[in-house]
Amino acid sequence: MKIRNTGRDEETIGLQMTSMIDIVFLLLVFFVMTFKIIAPEGDFNVKMPAQAAQGTPDPTAMPPIKIRITAAENGRVAGIKFADVPVSNLAELRTKVREVVGDHPGPGSLESTEIEFDCDYNLRYEYVIQAMTAVSGYVQDGQVVKLVEKIKFTPPRKQL
């Protein structure tokens, strides 16, 4: 018996494109919606053991250099003192730090120098980060030159 299948052979079996495109566009919309440009974030590392645990300080270690930052009423920087010597701005502070630690290559006093920040209570956090940036290094020709890595803070001053 002859089986008639005339006309069936010409039909091409295609993928079900419509439903796939539906899903694919849904995925695309989802990822476009959740896309958010976030600036990369970095850290300043501060190692500060509790005061009681410090015990007797190492006699060979140099005492930390004190940087005193006073704040005006509105939280802005009123004055900076580098080891009791007033400096006018952060660029000058960085120059002072570079004089002390000596940023020439090779072994220097980089590792041993420690800086202690003593800031007013109402100083804005932004300026503290700027000051930490100034003392912890600078960018030269796209390369980061490190200055001081050991940074600590005094206990908070009483709020006036």
């Binding site: 974030e41 970095g42 960018v139």
Partner: protein
């Protein structure tokens, strides 16, 4: 049809690769101060604990927004969990402080003091990475 599907899949792949699900520790209410030296860490930190400090002076830790004094309770719980997991882990844990740029610095110091009293001693002050303005292109 084929070129369109090619393009659409390219787009999906692009957005999938860039999607960022690590927003749990990035609170959008905090405007971080920016610094040209703030480089993302090379290796993930050891058992990090993130504390946000808002410009209003409250601290956000996990889902809780609490006054700073209440951090002692939350941090003590965290510390005990870490001690139970491993003895050395607790003192090595890093406290990530994401302070708002408008916050008073004294509050940051108070948070650090509270953490010290609980037993933590490593801190990371988080800042937004900022290109050096003068020579932004030459960075590799």
């Amino acid at each position: 049809m084929t070129p369109m599907i090619d393009m659409v899949f390219q787009l999906i792949a692009f957005f999938m690769v860039l999607v960022n699900f690590t927003e749990a520790d990035q609170n959008q209410r905090i405007r971080l101060p920016s610094s040209e030296l703030a480089k993302p860490p090379d290796a993930p930190l050891d058992s990090p604990i993130t504390i946000h400090l808002t410009s209003k002076g409250t601290a956000i830790m996990g889902p809780n927004e609490v006054p700073i004094q209440d951090l002692t309770r939350l941090l003590t719980v965290e510390y005990q969990v870490l001690v139970r997991k491993s003895e050395g882990l607790a003192s090595q844990a890093t406290i990530i402080i994401r302070g708002d740029l408008d916050a008073q610095f004294g509050l940051i110091q108070e948070i650090m003091q509270i953490c010290q009293n609980v037993g933590f001693e490593k801190f990371a002050l988080r800042a937004k990475q900022q290109e050096a303005l003068s020579r932004g292109i030459s960075r590799t």
